[in-house]
């Protein structure tokens, strides 16, 4: 298991939103699904998690903002350091961590009882923040998610009436409105058509200077297009998932050190 801290530079250490996973293991009941995963996700850049289905990528990403513990039988071990502080420390509130580490899900899930505008502001409302410049937040967030031009005239219509790709970008806007340090994306494009996928990728490019992004994807081309770092997860038969190889995306795809990585990124299995 490679500890990928070699990419850390002085600038990375200063910028906010550095995520460091240390010896992360995870269980569902008695079944171990992750085995001592170490990964550094540098701030203000995109880290892609790739690997075949069932290798623990989603579990890993859900551990990064304490969503894993919502499953009744789930448990975990290890540390997740956000800017050097363990988010699982006893004195840290899960709600506080989740407000700093946003998440976009596989299936677009805008709140159906809310308008587009209310959806964008929902994160603030839910955490009890009363913004003075609500209109500005709505516009900036929607612009960053490159949805503003499509919905500017109908901010008060329900969020559920948008197309699937628009809904997903609305969910991204919603996550950005609370100004998180990290944005986790769990296969954000798997339910979208190619055009919408391209728009979401553009959005990722747009926002990666402001927020650390960790994205799970099954699409090799997408991983290459959007990410700077890449980690390849693998779960061998009846074994918990672990990281086979991690490093700069160009390295992982162009010059993989492990033959299994080579096979996977070139589509020979998985």
């Amino acid at each position: 298991m490679t500890v990928t801290t070699e990419g850390v530079t002085a600038a990375d250490a200063v910028a906010k939103g550095a995520l460091q996973a240390q010896d992360i293991s995870a269980w569902f009941g008695q079944r171990k699904v992750l085995d001592r995963v170490n990964l550094f996700m540098p701030p203000r850049s995109v880290t892609a998690l790739i690997g075949p289905s069932g290798c623990g990528k989603s579990t890993f990403i859900r551990i990064l903002n304490r969503m894993h513990e919502l499953v009744p039988i789930a448990s975990m071990a290890g540390q997740v350091l956000l800017d050097g502080e363990d988010i699982y420390a006893a004195n840290v509130r899960a709600t506080h961590t989740r407000a700093r580490i946003g998440m976009v899900f596989q299936k677009p899930n805008p709140f159906p009882a809310m308008s587009i505008r209310e959806n964008v502001l929902s994160g603030l409302k839910l955490t009890g923040v009363k913004p003075n410049d609500a209109d500005e937040i709505v516009e900036t967030s929607l612009r960053r998610a490159s949805l503003w031009n499509e919905v500017r005239d109908r901010l008060d219509s329900p969020g559920g009436a948008l197309s699937g790709g628009q809904q997903q970008r609305l969910c991204i806007a919603r996550s950005l409105a609370v100004d998180p340090d990290v944005l986790l994306m769990d296969e954000p494009c798997s339910a979208l058509d190619p055009t919408s996928t391209r728009r979401v990728e553009e959005t990722i490019h747009e926002i990666k200077d402001r927020v650390t992004i960790v994205i799970v994807t099954h699409n090799m081309q997408q991983a290459q297009r959007v990410s700077q770092q890449c980690a390849f997860f693998l779960a061998e038969e009846n074994q918990p998932g672990h990281i086979v190889e991690a490093g700069p995306t160009t390295e992982v795809f162009g010059n993989p050190k492990d033959p299994r990585t080579d096979d996977y990124v070139n589509g020979r299995f998985g």
Binding site: M67, T95, N109, S122, L126, R174, V178
Partner: protein, 361 residues
């Protein structure tokens, strides 16, 4: 690749799409007439029964057989089955509505004589048992107040119970659900007796509309709780996750996301709860006792209500009282209808639920 359409012609003729062909409809009409004629002959000449109701059933039976035979000849077996089934289902729905319409009509015809302006503006305190005139205002006011109070008690409790059953993990969930289920099986008179023994006997309080409302809320609670629970279960888990992932607490998620998303369903739950108790008479007999005089204070003194008045008036042998009872029953039905319509309108106001879209395309 947008294709331009030629709009120079006027409005296009819209195609009428239907599953039946003109031949089918002709067939249906002829079978209806033919079976009617055959049923008439059967009922008047051959069968030992006559009258409109046996005729109706004979007609239905003859129609089914005839229709089957005719469609079977004209079409293949599957199509014939399909026709017959769709007819049976439609007829079934009509048969369910029929008794309802009959009850409404019966109550209306028996009570129409007593319905007048004074029926809604006066009480019965100065009306003798043989007199006509007087009104049921006291009962209408009583019903509205008692139902209103029981809604105030039962709705928050019921929805909180539903939230507990659906959103809270823990060992208490199963026993609570069992308890709520058991409660929904409590006969209404037992709820009345419970309030009678506890509130009136043990605590020495007087019978009142309030006591009646307590008994009614006991009956209403399990209906609201269980229906609301089913509704909350339909709220997608993804919405809860999305809310929690933004740093919301669990209660905030329930309050701002889960309950608003389920609003229409929750209103249905409340409507069902009201429907459960609005016609209850038994628990009122020993809690509010009834009265012929107007009492607009539900906390003091005996109070009447529509079902209780109907019950008390009907046990009276005099024609004027009986007629009043039917008129009261009609007003009760109408009141319920008005309540439900209002509740529906309230539930659908504001953000409409999103159009159902296909999951995968």
């Amino acid at each position: 690749m947008a294709t331009t359409t030629d709009h120079s012609s006027d409005v296009e003729a819209r195609r009428h799409t239907t599953l039946t062909t003109p031949k089918d409809r002709l067939l249906q009409v002829s079978v209806v007439l033919g079976s009617g004629a055959l049923a008439a002959v059967l009922c008047t000449q051959l069968l030992p029964v006559s009258g409109p109701v046996p005729f109706g059933f004979t007609w239905l039976a003859v129609f089914l057989v005839m229709y089957w035979a005719v469609v079977r000849r004209a079409d293949d077996r599957l199509a014939a089955k399909d026709r017959l089934m769709s007819f049976i289902i439609t007829a079934g729905a009509a048969l369910v509505v029929l008794p309802l319409a009959l009850i409404l009509g019966f109550v209306f015809i028996r009570g129409i004589g007593a319905l007048s302006w004074s029926f809604f503006t006066q009480d019965l305190s100065k009306t003798g048992t043989l007199d006509s005139g007087g009104g049921m205002l006291h009962a209408i006011v009583g019903t509205l107040q008692q139902i209103g109070l029981s809604v105030v008690f039962a709705v928050p409790l019921g929805i909180m119970t539903a939230v507990f059953l659906n959103e809270v993990r823990g060992p208490l969930r199963r026993p609570v659900r069992m308890f709520v289920d058991a409660m929904s099986g409590v006969p209404s008179i037992v709820a009345g007796l419970f309030i009678y023994t506890v509130w009136l006997i043990q605590l020495g309080q007087q019978g009142s509309g309030f006591a009646a409302a307590l008994a009614l809320s006991i009956l209403m609670l399990p209906t609201i709780a269980r229906t609301a629970e089913e509704v909350l279960r339909l709220v997608p888990g993804g919405l809860r996750e999305a809310s929690l992932a933004m740093g919301a607490t669990q209660w905030r998620t329930v309050w701002s996301i889960v309950l608003p998303t389920a609003r229409t369903g929750l209103i249905t739950a409340i409507v069902l709860g009201i429907a459960r108790v609005v016609g209850e008479t038994a628990p009122l007999i020993m809690t509010s006792f009834g009265s012929t005089a107007m009492n607009s204070n539900p906390f003091k003194g005996f109070q009447s209500s529509l079902p209780l008045s109907v019950y008390q008036l009907l046990s009276n042998p005099f024609a004027a009282q009986q007629q009043r009872a039917y008129a009261g029953a009609f007003v009760l039905v109408f009141l319920v209808l008005a309540l439900f319509t209002t509740a529906r309108a309230l539930g659908n106001r504001g953000a409409k639920p999103p159009r159902k879209r296909k999951e995968r395309t």
